[in-house]
Symmetry: C2
Subunit: 415 residues, 2 copies
């Protein structure tokens, strides 16, 4: 795997993509678009995203609220959406909150052909006092900027977009159920909107945010899932884009997911390389709790940020809380490469304590078993339990912060 070390990813992130635009195509070789970097591009002539310029058009036909128990993830949306256009020539246009509405796009628009698209998943919560809170929005904004820059879409001022999202959430506040476990799922999305088929950096883009009220991932309590360890298909590769939240990372994972489902598994556990390193679950990062074979000391381990896994906000939160609260209890907390064989050995030796996924949708998702090479690796859960103590503890800790029961800098009050 020597090739991993040779990947100077900084090169990619060092480019200021807002400063790029197509140069003129010369008559003698219009075959090749050439691009140049205009230092002036990000200067004063190009407008920054400005939350103060927000215009609001209220929805005159507000929809009826669904009973909370009927909510299905990402099926129904609020009355409004936030949309901001960007052009290479002018920069960010006026932010607009409008009634939720269709996008009208030329069929040649580059988002349909070359996957110029990236997104975020985050939630707004209503606390016991009726205040609305976001959870670590700075992390989502930073990641969206990294995703966007990686596919030559524009970057934006993170605080400005957080403020604008706050305005959207306030306008659609009635859609956030007060019940614990419910929230408003927010989907910031950036798409390239250039209407030509040449393969190059889009000269225009649309940043929009839609919102969907959602119920608890586990309405009747945890339900442990099963994973199929997958090596015949590979989600991400060093030097690829598996650490960015790009649309490109999702569609190719559906067929393996359907195959896993056909064999009775809920999701794929993506392995990498001959070593069969555990990476992630596609919609979640993965944590393994096991005892050290020599010392018996408990360890909570997850894959390192080597470019092949999504840099999950929940992953980061679990790690931070574990370092703060589990290490004093004698735990080791590791970001390291874990081989599937190591997990199976721990299971065989009775050292595997528990495994759980971590992501925005479920917070944590306990794993009962992993199918691997024709065997079932059982992940430490007794038959009559759906979650291990670490998963349960993490969910409690994180939700206490998300819902404002514990005051914490991660939870940002919108209103």
């Amino acid at each position: 795997m020597a090739m991993l070390q040779r990947t100077p990813r900084a090169l990619l992130s060092s480019l200021r993509t807002t400063a790029l635009r197509p140069a003129a195509i010369s008559a003698s070789s219009r075959c090749w678009r050439t691009y140049s970097i205009h230092a002036s591009h990000a200067s004063s002539q190009h407008k920054a995203l400005d939350a103060a310029q927000l215009t609001i058009q209220k929805n005159s036909t507000p929809s009826e609220l669904l009973p909370p128990k009927e909510l299905i993830f990402g099926h129904t949306f609020t009355d409004h959406m936030l949309a901001i256009e960007w052009t290479a020539s002018e920069g960010w246009h006026t932010p607009r909150i409008t009634p939720y509405q269709n996008l009208s796009l030329d069929p040649a628009t580059c988002v349909f052909h070359y996957a110029f698209e990236c997104f975020e998943g985050m939630k707004a919560y209503k606390d016991r006092k009726g205040q609305i809170r976001l959870f670590r929005p700075d992390k989502n904004m930073a990641r969206l900027n990294k995703s966007s820059a990686r596919i030559a879409l524009p970057t934006f001022d993170s605080e400005a977009l957080t403020k604008l999202i706050g305005e959207l959430v306030k306008i659609d506040e009635r859609f956030i159920p007060s019940e614990r476990g419910y929230s408003l799922y927010l989907r910031p999305t950036m798409i390239g909107t250039q209407r030509t088929l040449g393969v190059g950096p889009p000269g225009s883009a649309l940043l929009y945010v839609i919102a969907s009220p959602v119920g608890p991932y586990y309405p009747t309590g945890f339900k442990a899932v099963s994973l199929e360890a997958t090596d015949y298909a590979v989600r991400a590769w060093p030097g690829g884009v598996g650490d960015k939240k790009l649309g490109a990372n999702y569609a190719p994972c559906i067929l393996p997911q359907l195959e896993a489902a056909s064999r009775g598994y809920h999701q794929n556990l993506w392995l990498f390389g001959e070593e069969e390193y555990i990476t992630e679950v596609g919609t979640m990062n993965l944590f393994v709790a096991m005892k050290d074979p020599k010392t018996g000391k408990p360890e909570l381990a997850t894959a390192p940020l080597d470019g092949t896994i999504l840099e999950g906000v929940t992953r980061d939160s679990v790690l931070a809380l574990a370092r703060e609260r589990l290490v004093p209890q004698g735990w080791t907390v590791s970001e390291r490469k874990v081989r599937m064989q190591e997990v199976a050995d721990a299971a065989d030796d009775g050292r595997l304590l528990e495994i759980f996924g971590a992501g925005t949708a479920a917070v944590v998702s306990p794993v009962r078993r992993i199918g691997w090479k024709g065997r079932q690796v059982t992940c430490g859960l007794p038959d009559d339990r759906e979650a291990g103590p670490v998963a349960q503890q993490m969910k409690d800790w994180i939700e206490a912060i998300q819902y404002g029961d514990e005051e914490h800098p991660w939870s940002v009050v919108v209103r």
Copy 2:
């Protein structure tokens, strides 16, 4: 690279994706969508794509034609488009030719979030008799079906779509310039249109075709290009989707392309692995002509179809013509892994004859030099020439077939 051999890709293609749909989500675990395969799904209750049902709505405000010399690739489109909806419950709906028009899509539509999109690039040509011809449309249809199935979008009857594309081309025939070198670029595109945010197989899709009149890639004769051998970013990998024409393969390549451009190169030459195998150029496959170091026999080599390169129609055509017409002249024709070092050695020894890209847009595109590890590998072209003899010969052979000067089964007369 032992992991390459373990990839049973057949597993992926064996799934009939049109036969998949979401099953009910149980109340106790609605967190996990589960999917089941309904054997009945592709049966008589689901309509196949039927060209005979085509409805045509003529554009009442036809646009003026641009002077051919002002055409820019993929910038202007014809008066009409072909569109066919698909739903998991009904199958293929009625094909429609309508005026070229915007798509109106819910902002939650899965194509914007998870890159459910794939496409083709093909051309219609006008021959000396005024007949309209397609070049190997069966290859494009087969590839679009493979691309679509790989991302859980529906498949279709290839002959039916070819016939429908023929109808579109006939209706917009006036957009095909008669001059040699000009053609009508056709862009069949499939997108997922489900309007929910859950990550799963789309329950609906839209297959559409737009058409753009294009001029010759090299209006004033060949213009040899330069490539930057790229290893810090990786376009495709074993077990990935680099051999499918998915949107997902394009957006991540733009930033490396801009970096290469900033150093004076036209395109990236994607290397793979520690061995630095030559794969492809992102918009073209690559052919290397060099003499064997021992025998001095000329060889035309290109990367094998191992899943990391696009299965180019022009690549296949070059290979077939080379086997038919160059082998009798003493050439060896190889689909094999070629290391960048091998190319550099051939250049140093004076054995490198020429290098050229092969793709629908340019047919062939000669390469003058490749930047690699701080050196310039010159690719056999004298300073005063823009194409080697094999590239020139291939372009002549293929264009003679495309424009009907040579009758050949690859060229299909539409009308």
